[in-house]
């Protein structure tokens, strides 16, 4: 019944998530929704619980209280295989213990649709290559994943997530180790894929300017609590950002473009 109450518009419903790490509370009752087709940014300072929340959503961590629902179905009651058919995760910067090519990495996106005794077919490999082509990184296919640059790794992992063919896409700080240009390159691709494939995307970000430029919706966390959530237009304003980051900021609207956030003269005691 509760699933129905979340309405037609939202794909992901996070309902009153409480999570403790070794008796230390990390998340205190987080509730929000991700609308279908939206690119939702999860913002907050370090240690605000962004990554923990993402892990509660994909079921890697079990919340002490609360539910995560996708299409009204409780993720906590699903097998890993069922979860992996609903949401794909692009992890934070990773390096592998063993060497795989980028294509072999992308092919692993098929795992949740393979039979226990089957191997990826040559058709699976062709489709994985096609997913890389969509992101314009087919030339990386035969390169060793560990030898790729940070941006190339993120694009390969993004291709893997696309290849997983899920309605929901989760990204954990995809821009955190990237240079200026690559941050925008990755977010361009994320934004384009979300629109072109009709995905719903939840992405944790450090930089509010990236959020301002790309996200349609925002969820703001502060010290493990939901500070505010809503459309970018509703949420992205000076007072809210100052409260979340604990510092003085200026929000400068740019004609015909997104707003620009600049730090104030000093860190305010808010």
């Amino acid at each position: 019944m509760k699933g129905l109450a979340h309405g037609m518009g939202s794909l992901l419903a996070v309902d009153d998530i409480v999570f403790d790490y070794r008796d230390k509370p990390v998340l205190h009752g987080i509730t929000f929704k991700v609308e279908r087709g939206s690119l939702c940014g999860l913002l907050g300072p370090n240690a605000s619980g962004k990554t923990t929340l993402l892990k509660c959503i994909n079921g890697v961590l079990k919340p002490r209280q609360g539910h995560v629902r996708v299409n009204g179905e409780n993720v906590g009651a699903m097998t890993r295989r069922e979860v992996a058919r609903l949401m794909a995760v692009v992890p934070q910067q990773m390096s592998l213990a063993f060497s795989f090519t980028a294509l072999q990495m992308v092919v692993m996106g098929r795992a949740s649709r393979l039979g226990a005794l089957s191997l990826p077919s040559s058709r699976d490999r062709d489709e994985a290559r096609a997913a890389m082509e969509e992101l314009g990184v087919e030339d990386l296919a035969e390169r060793q994943f560990n030898e790729l640059s940070g941006g190339e790794k993120q694009l390969a992992l993004l291709a893997r997530a696309i290849f997983q063919e899920t309605p929901l896409l989760l990204l954990d700080e995809p821009t955190s180790h990237l240079d200026f240009r690559n941050q925008y390159r990755i977010m361009d691709v994320v934004s384009e894929m979300t629109r072109a494939k009709g995905l719903s995307t939840l992405v944790t970000l450090h930089d509010p300017n990236l959020a301002a430029r790309y996200c349609t919706h925002l969820v703001l966390l502060r010290e493990g609590r939901l500070h505010r959530s809503g459309t970018r237009e509703a949420v992205f304003e000076r007072k809210t950002l100052e409260e979340v980051y604990g510092m003085e900021v200026f929000v400068q609207p740019i004609p015909g473009g997104p707003s620009l956030v600049l730090p104030g003269r000093g860190v305010a005691a808010l």
Partner: protein, 339 residues
């Protein structure tokens, strides 16, 4: 897979050549011509030249079971080594490092001490204690920080514990009836292998290898790490348990038949990774092939080197220890000991 066809074909050729050499070499020399003669006559079903009777006997009842056992044990140790490396995301772990080998050796020795050599009891005990050892190593490692270093150290601890247990049993054992067999287990040798041992070990190792072969591709996502594997849709805990149980089973079957032969499970999969990469689709069958060949070469050396036969475990350790040192030194650059 396709690009590795050549290397597979070459390796098969090397294995075939090694098998042929291993069959003719030894203190009882069988001429190459005699080997073909004996094989041909067994295929034809005709009578054998009486002058070849001795060669035929040595070939069928001594050399062949030993060659088969060496190849299968080498394959089992190498494949389980490759599997353990991937499960724990580190090229420096092996059944030996994780305490499986010494646990299984202890189990075999214990069974021999109390049950005086019933082969089934020895095998079951080796398997049970091998599982206990790897479980202990994993548990201590997890509590000790859950890093690769803590896992390897806890494997060292568990190995020391079971080695002490073996020493104690040796100390209390009947020096004429039991001790020689126990010494043999701690060093590892194919010296006393007869058909019954070969068949017994094979009846476990072959099905175990088939299971690991069938499930080989899943080691790719699992070797990315628990979280990533979970996100790709894998029940990591259950999968890990299956691999550990089957891997331990074939190591225990090896230890029961020929004792604790160290280092093969570490060295061979590592060489295999260097040669064909870490895609388990290719790595698992190639580790089996390379491991079988490596073990057969080691065993043939062990029984043909001048100065009398030495336990093959001594030889693999002589080769394996420096190789491990090499991995440690160069692995620092590759981040081998990091998480």
């Amino acid at each position: 897979m396709r690009e590795h066809k050549l290397i597979f074909a070459l390796s098969l050729l090397v294995l075939a050549a090694t098998v042929a050499l291993a069959l003719v070499l030894g203190r009882y020399r069988i001429a190459a011509g005699a080997l073909f003669e004996i094989l041909a006559s067994s295929v034809r079903g005709g009578d054998l030249d009486p002058s070849l009777a001795g060669s035929s006997l040595v070939l069928w009842s001594v050399r062949l079971p030993r060659v088969i056992a060496a190849v299968m044990v080498g394959a089992a140790l190498s494949v389980s080594g490759a599997v353990f490396q991937s499960l724990f995301r580190n090229p420096l772990v092996s059944p030996g490092i994780l305490g499986v080998t010494s646990g299984a050796g202890f189990g075999a020795t214990l069974a021999f001490f109390f049950a005086a050599g019933s082969a089934t009891v020895v095998e079951l005990s080796a398997f049970a204690w091998g599982l206990i050892a790897v479980t202990l190593a994993c548990q201590i490692g997890r509590r000790g920080g859950n890093t690769v270093t803590s896992l390897v150290l806890s494997g060292v601890i568990v190995s020391a514990l079971f080695t002490a247990g073996i020493s104690f049993l040796k100390y209390r054992a009947d020096p004429y009836q039991q001790l020689p067999a126990m010494v043999f287990w701690t060093m590892g040798s194919f010296n006393s292998i007869v058909w019954a041992d070969s068949v017994r070990a094979l009846s476990i190792i072959v099905p175990g290898l088939v299971v690991l072969y069938l499930f080989r591709w899943w080691l790719n996502p699992i070797s990315l790490g628990d979280e990533d594997a979970m996100n790709l849709g894998i029940d990591v805990r259950r999968a890990r348990m299956i691999y550990i149980v089957v891997g331990t089973l074939i190591v225990a079957a090896s230890v029961s038949s020929c004792g604790a032969i160290g280092w093969v499970g570490l060295v061979v999969p590592h060489m295999a990774r260097i040669m064909v990469g870490s895609d388990h689709d290719v790595l698992i069958p190639f580790s089996a092939l390379l491991g079988g060949t490596f073990m057969l070469i080691m065993d043939t050396l062990a029984r043909t080197l001048p100065g009398g036969e030495i336990p093959v475990g001594v030889l693999t350790a002589l080769l394996g220890a420096p190789f491990f040192a090499y991995l440690l030194v160069t692995g620092e650059k590759r981040g081998g000991w990091q998480n």
